[in-house]
């Protein structure tokens, strides 16, 4: 419905059809809002399911390549450096 405080501008309409209401709120039906909620839930479920799967795969594969391979010409610059330890001890770094 038009708001009672709205000015009457009916004389301004040079139209061949009836103008819409001056009210500024879209008249959405509940089923329209429900449909949009269902579609967005479905799409984001689809997207997040794949996103979580890709993150899981990354975590399971672990770091690789340059992230774990020391440079070939690397040498320790201080006596207690861990840089040249064998790869099998990498998992203990975080606890040291």
């Amino acid at each position: 419905m038009c708001h009672p405080a709205e000015p009457d501008r009916s004389s301004l309409y040079p139209t061949r059809r009836e103008p819409p209401c001056r009210g500024a709120l879209p008249a959405l039906a509940a089923r329209q809002a429900g449909a949009s909620l269902a579609v967005f839930c479905a799409i984001y479920t689809f997207i997040f399911a794949f996103g979580i799967f890709y993150i899981y795969r990354l975590l399971r594969a672990g770091p690789a390549g340059y992230l774990i391979e020391p440079p070939s010409a690397a040498h320790p610059k201080r006596p207690m450096s861990l840089a040249d330890r064998p790869r099998s001890t990498e998992t203990t770094y975080a606890r040291e």
Binding site: P20, A27, L28, F50, A83
Partner: protein, 348 residues
Amino acid sequence: MIMFWATLLAVSILLYVLLDGFDLGVGILSGMTRSETKRSAMLAAVEPIWDGNETWLVVTAVILWGAFPVAYAGLLPAFYLPLLVMLAGLILRGVAFEYRSKTEQMRWIWDLSFAGGSFAATFIQGLTVGALVEGLPWAKGQYAGGDFGWFTPYAALCGIGLCLGYALLGASWLVKKCEGDVREMAYRLIPYLSAGLLLFLIGIFIYSLAEQLEVMDMWVERPYLYVFPMIGAMAAILLAFSVRYRWDEVPFLVVTVIFLCAFGTMVLSFWPYMIPFVLTVEEAAAPQSSLAFMFWGEGLFVFPLMLFYTAISYSIFRGKVRSAAGYYGNRKAAVTKLPYRPAGDSRH
């Protein structure tokens, strides 16, 4: 102030159509090739700028909502379901950019999402314009067409026409940005897409005459509107020459001129109406105080900032795309080149 906001709305829509138009077009074209190399190169041509292009849709919606709330309130119930499909398409194609480089076995899902989302979004945009041109059913001041009152053969034809138009814009962008096979493929497609678009325009003109649409009266009242099709025809001739002689920079500019002509024709055909033959721009506008309030935020700050951002991003990513690795692929490569640093190592 009403004219200021009407101008900003027109500029926003135009920028959206031109900028997102070509990357939606590239999306549609990406579904027409089976070559992974070509598809990667096509995506690389739009990857750095596609999301910036789509912000113009947000700006358009905000201006419509804030400055022309009566039009917003009238249009949203009418196009709620098609807009929902359009947004779903835009979401899926956006995610496809991120996800397709994360997998090889399931890449087809994201390629399908990218091409399908681009097609759906484009088709809905064309369909919306077609439904507005044909006229929506109104009763007691509100949309009265039901959930599918917007779906007519004329509107569907406009949807297909815009798909052809965006694909043409996308092909001309690929000519501008790509090299090798993709550039040649785009050059080969441009004549077919142009011919398809011409057939569509002829078809839509005959349909409009047959249906005696009200917009045809405007063309009788305003003969200066014929200037736009004439400019468009000259641009089409220049397009044919640019394809013939392989002028890489020209097709995109020429197709942009064709779109400008089409947009100018539409705006001037319907002026002063915002919803054709139902609601004028003045009637749709918010109160003067609201328009003035919006001016100090959106008008004076956000809109110029958006223009500046767009100009900067296109300036940075100018020139040909040399690698098929793309923006998202390069980012992944950059991560793998991080120097080795065991946990607890504080060396610099």
